[in-house]
Amino acid sequence: MMRLAAAVLVAILVGFPVSVMPGPPVTWLAAVALVMAGAGVALLSVTLVTVGASLALIAYTIALVIVQPAVDPVAAIGIAVTLVILLALVHFADRVHGAALGPGVIATQVRQWMAIVAAGALAAATLTMVAALLGAALATATLPMVVAAAALGALLTVAGVIALTTREDPPRVS
């Protein structure tokens, strides 16, 4: 059941770049992404799913660069939500494979995932709106400056996340 849900998410993920540009070379790369992610779902391997998702992301980028459509934040948030749920689902399915599940385990997990995904989507929507408002103010700024500022911001964000995830809490013996 969890494999089926993950397979549906893989199909949705691969469908995004194909919907932007339904033709070569995007379809080829999307097919490779589908195979890799599909194998990851079948084997419950997060690594393979990550590789497949990365390929799907590259295919989406190529499609955007070739077709040059208008910016679509809704589709972007959709891709991000799919990625988050797909990774969490495959990881969870791998952990619980062959184990007994107590009552309410899956419901609790789904609730948690939905809360985090909703927070992420809300943050993305808010930042998109803020960026749209700031667009007018930054119209006079040169592109390299904006890119440098964005890169620095991204770097600080990633560094902050790594610092958060690697910090050890004081031990608490149960």
């Binding site: 990550t50 990365s54 107590g102 964005a150 964000t157 958060l164 809490d169």
Partner: protein, 425 residues
Amino acid sequence: MSWRPTALNVSFLTLAGWALFLGLLTGRADLVVIAIPLIVALAAGRRTAAPSPVQIHHAVSAERVLEDERLTVTVTIRAEGAAPLVELLEPLPPRVELERGSHHAFFSLRAGEEVGWEFVLRCGSRQRLRLGGPHVRLWGPLGLAAGEARFRAPQTVAVYPHLTSLRHPPRPVRTQTYVGNHVSPAQGEGIEPGDIRPFAPGDHVRHVNWRATLRHGALHVTQHHHERNADVVLLLDTLSDVGPPGASVVDAAVRGAADLAAAYLARKDRVGLIEYGGQLRWVKPGSGRAQFQRLLDTLLDASVVFTYVTRDLDLVPPRILPPQALVLALSPLLDARFVRAASDLTARGFDLVVIAVSPAPAARAAVRPSPVADLAARLWDLERRAELDAHRRRGLSIVPWDGVGPLDAALASLSRPRLRRTLAR
């Protein structure tokens, strides 16, 4: 217990990094937007508060079971705070199979909630089963952080060999002084009639043999034999072993020894045990249920211990190996030291019966079936028959047993001298 990041963080960071990199490379805002929920998930998945303590109670249904019996393990978990995902894993010891349920489980607990978890194990072969308690792992949201601990509740379960009743255990040639089930050559109180002799003052009237009295014209009485017990010493060969754990020759010999001990103790005999191997261990002959428990506990630990030192049975004190005892040796007769020891006991006048446990079935269980293995097994069988015949010619009383079939059937072929006739000579 403390939270630690899991490998899933790398996947999230990889995809967020790809989205940001491609966004900056192409100047497309869509790709930067994709990275935002991934980064939010990374931040949200990280747990900052310490995991809520979890209390675990671990219990087993029995401390002593027989082979192939079921053992129920019950684990009760109680969380003081909310624990959205608790993972429990009880490592299974070797030669134990999961009969029902799972030894790996996930639970979602609310604050103060208590959940019970139960699974059934089948204990395959004799051993001291050590259950150390489950590993506990608390998972954070999305599986991005986990806290681990080991709940230590060491519990030992004794898995004794499965017992089969024996109807024809070898009859001892010599008896002891205590009341038992064996007919003694000594005359006295008993139910087994013996010789007839003329009446003497002091004889009971109920012993008068009226038929002999009428025939001889004078009072005659029937004498009776005592029913006495015997000393039986089980000599277990642990110098060599063949076969996979749980189905080896020593395991078969241990099962046979347990069956013999149960049979003789039920006949009120005194039973002792000598483990003749790398370490020489023994149990003094005794009777009763406590003695049976002692023997089973000693048999449970019987195994091959490698040593360069060869010990002799001369080291065994006479109270452990009484001269009048029936010695039942269980051995594959693969080690020349044991054959020497058995021959030495026979030469010293001990009443010795060797139950030769065949190593072929145990060896066959350890190798893949093939025509070559079949041929090798047949050749080995022929070779063993020749060896056993040679031992018989040297005076050893040998009963071949394949270690798989019933021991009773193998012992039925053993012809033993009747007790009275032996001593009458």
